[in-house]
C-alpha cells in the first residue's frame, strides 16, 4: 500500500468517512477532526510507518509537520518515511 493511501485510510477512519470521500485539499476542519482526533491520527501514522512525527499540539503552526491539508500531511509523512529509509 502506498504511503498516501495508508495516510488517507487513517484520516478517513478518524473522520468516520470512506477513504474514497477524502480529498487532498481537505483541511482538518473540513474533515471534522478536532485536536484529540489529530493527536490520535498522528499516533496511528507513527505506528503504521514506525516513524516519529515532530508535532506539538501547543504550536501546530511551528511544528515541522504541516497539518494544513490532507495533501501536506501526506507529503510530510512521505518525507519522514524516506528519511527513515535513507537513515
Amino acid at each position: 500500500m502506498q504511503v498516501r493511501d495508508k495516510v488517507v485510510e487513517i484520516i478517513a477512519e478518524q473522520a468516520l468517512m470512506e477513504p474514497g470521500d477524502v480529498r487532498m485539499d481537505m483541511t482538518l476542519a473540513d474533515l471534522g477532526i478536532d485536536s484529540l482526533g489529530l493527536v490520535e491520527s498522528i499516533f496511528a501514522i507513527e505506528e503504521a510507518f514506525d516513524i516519529s512525527v515532530p508535532f506539538n499540539a501547543n504550536d501546530p503552526a511551528d511544528s515541522e509537520f504541516d497539518i494544513s491539508s490532507v495533501r501536506t500531511m501526506v507529503a510530510a509523512v512521505e518525507k519522514l518515511v524516506r528519511e527513515q529509509t535513507d537513515a
Binding site: S35, L36, V39, S52, N56, A57, N58, D59
Partner: protein
C-alpha cells in the same frame, strides 16, 4: 449564613523541586528560581520529554525505615514529610475530642504511579510471576491520606480526592467546608503527586502537550507544560480554636467554588473557569476589587493560558487589568494532583508577606494573555485577597480564596 465558622491556616509544609520545606520554597519563589531540569530516572533515554521539576537531593532512607519504604510510594513519602512540617508548625497534637473532630482530605491524580510502573515492569518486562505483597496498599490513591491519619491520630472525616489537575484544590475546598460547617475542628489537607517515572512521563508524552525545553506560561512562544512532583500540606483550623490556643495564623480561607464545564475531556472552557472564579469571590462575600493576586493554573499550554486569561477578564471586567496573576509552574513544574497545594504557598506569601511570586521564563507577550503576569521578577505589593485557580482535564474547576490573617 450565620453559624458558619471561620477557617484559618495554622500550618504549612512542602517538598517540591524548589526546596524540601516551606521557607526554602518561599525563598526560591522570591528569587524566581527555576527547579526544572533534566530528568533522572531509569529509561529516561527512551523518552522524548526529558525535563521536569524533579525533587533533587532526596534520599528516602534519610526519612523512613525499611518497613516504611516497603509501604510508602513516593507520593506518600512526600505527603508525610510535608505533613510533618505543617503539623509541627501548627503545634497541634490530636487526642480525644480533637482527634475525633479532625481528619485528612488530600488530593492526588495518580496515586502510586511509580509503584504501578515498577511492578508492571517486573511482571511484563522481567517476566516475574510474583510481586511484593504490599503493591496494593502502596499504590492506592488513599494511601497517603491513611498514613497521615495513622501517624497523627486523625480520626474524623478522611478521604482522597482525584480530579486530575484540580485534585488538591478540590481537597482543600472539602476541608474548608468541613470546618466552616462546624463538622470538624481541624483538617490536614492539600495534596501530592509523583509521576516521575518512565511510564508516568511516557503517558503524558503521548498527549503532545509537553514542552521539551521550558515552561513559559503566558509567553507568546510557550510550547507546553512541564511536569513536577512533590507535596503541599496544610493545617486548616477553626478560627476560634486557633485563637484560643494562640496559634500563629498564616492566612484565612474565605471562599471556595467548583464548577464543571460539561464540555470536553481535555479542552478548557472560559465559561467554566469564569464561573468558578466568580463563585469563589461570591462565596467569600467580598467585592471582587479586593482580589489583588491570582495564582494561575497557568500550565504553559497554548489552550490553558489564553482561556484562563479570557476567563479572568470576563470575571473581573476592568479590574482584571489591575490585579496581578502569575504562574509558579514556571518554577516548580506542574504537580498535577498536588499542584494547587504547592501553589497555595504563593497565595500565602502574597497575603502574608506582600511578596508576589513571578512567572519566570517570560519572553514575548502574547496579546491573548494581556494581563499583569508578574514577569520574571517577584514584586512587593500589598494584597488583601488572593485566589488560587485549578482547572483540570475533564473540565473540573476549583478556586480557593485566601485573605490576610
Amino acid at each position: 449564613m450565620s453559624g458558619l465558622k471561620r477557617v484559618v491556616i495554622t500550618g504549612a509544609g512542602t517538598i517540591n523541586a524548589l526546596a524540601h520545606d516551606v521557607p526554602g520554597t518561599f525563598e526560591a519563589m522570591r528569587e524566581g528560581r527555576c527547579g526544572i531540569g533534566p530528568l533522572d530516572f531509569r529509561d529516561v533515554d527512551r523518552l522524548a520529554i526529558r525535563i521536569g521539576g524533579q525533587v533533587r537531593g532526596y534520599d528516602e532512607h534519610a526519612h523512613f525505615n525499611r518497613q516504611q519504604i516497603a509501604l510508602y510510594d513516593r507520593f506518600t513519602q512526600y505527603t508525610l514529610l510535608a505533613a510533618r512540617e505543617a503539623i509541627g508548625q501548627s503545634g497541634l497534637s490530636f487526642a480525644g475530642e480533637l482527634a475525633a473532630r479532625s481528619g485528612v482530605v488530600l488530593g492526588t491524580a495518580g496515586g502510586g504511579v511509580t509503584t504501578w510502573d515498577e511492578n508492571y515492569r517486573s511482571v511484563y518486562e522481567e517476566g516475574k510471576n510474583r510481586v511484593h505483597p504490599f503493591v496494593v496498599p502502596k499504590l492506592m490513591n488513599n494511601a497517603a491520606t491513611s498514613h497521615v491519619s495513622m501517624e497523627w491520630n486523625l480520626k474524623g472525616p478522611s478521604f482522597t480526592v482525584a480530579t486530575a489537575c484540580s485534585s488538591s484544590n478540590h481537597a482543600m475546598g472539602q476541608a474548608f467546608w468541613l470546618i466552616r460547617s462546624g463538622a470538624c475542628t481541624a483538617m490536614v489537607t492539600g495534596g501530592s503527586e509523583s509521576m516521575m517515572c518512565f511510564g508516568g512521563v511516557k503517558a503524558w508524552e503521548g498527549l503532545r502537550v509537553m514542552s521539551k525545553d521550558a515552561c513559559r506560561p503566558f509567553s507568546l512562544r510557550r510550547n507546553g507544560m512541564v511536569q513536577g512532583e512533590g507535596a503541599g500540606i496544610f493545617v486548616f483550623e477553626e478560627y476560634e480554636h486557633a485563637r484560643a490556643r494562640g496559634a500563629e495564623i498564616l492566612a484565612e480561607v474565605i471562599g471556595f467554588a467548583m464548577t464543571s464545564d460539561a464540555a470536553d475531556i481535555v479542552m478548557p472552557s472560559k465559561q467554566g473557569a469564569a464561573r468558578a472564579i466568580l463563585g469563589a469571590v461570591t462565596d467569600a462575600r467580598i467585592d471582587k476589587e479586593t482580589v489583588g493576586y491570582i495564582n494561575a493554573h497557568g500550565t504553559g499550554t497554548a489552550a490553558n493560558d489564553k482561556t484562563e486569561c479570557a476567563a479572568v477578564s470576563d470575571a473581573f471586567g476592568a479590574h482584571a487589568d489591575t490585579l496581578m496573576i502569575s504562574s509558579t509552574k514556571s518554577m516548580h513544574g506542574h504537580l498535577i494532583g498536588g499542584t494547587g497545594a504547592v501553589e497555595l504557598l504563593a497565595c500565602i506569601m502574597a497575603v502574608r508577606d506582600g511578596v508576589i511570586a513571578p512567572t519566570i521564563g517570560y519572553e514575548e507577550p502574547d496579546p491573548e494573555c494581556a494581563l499583569d503576569v508578574v514577569p520574571n521578577e517577584a514584586r512587593e505589593a500589598k494584597v488583601e485577597v488572593a485566589l488560587s485557580n485549578a482547572f483540570a482535564f475533564g473540565g473540573l474547576n476549583a478556586v480557593l480564596a485566601l485573605r490576610a490573617a
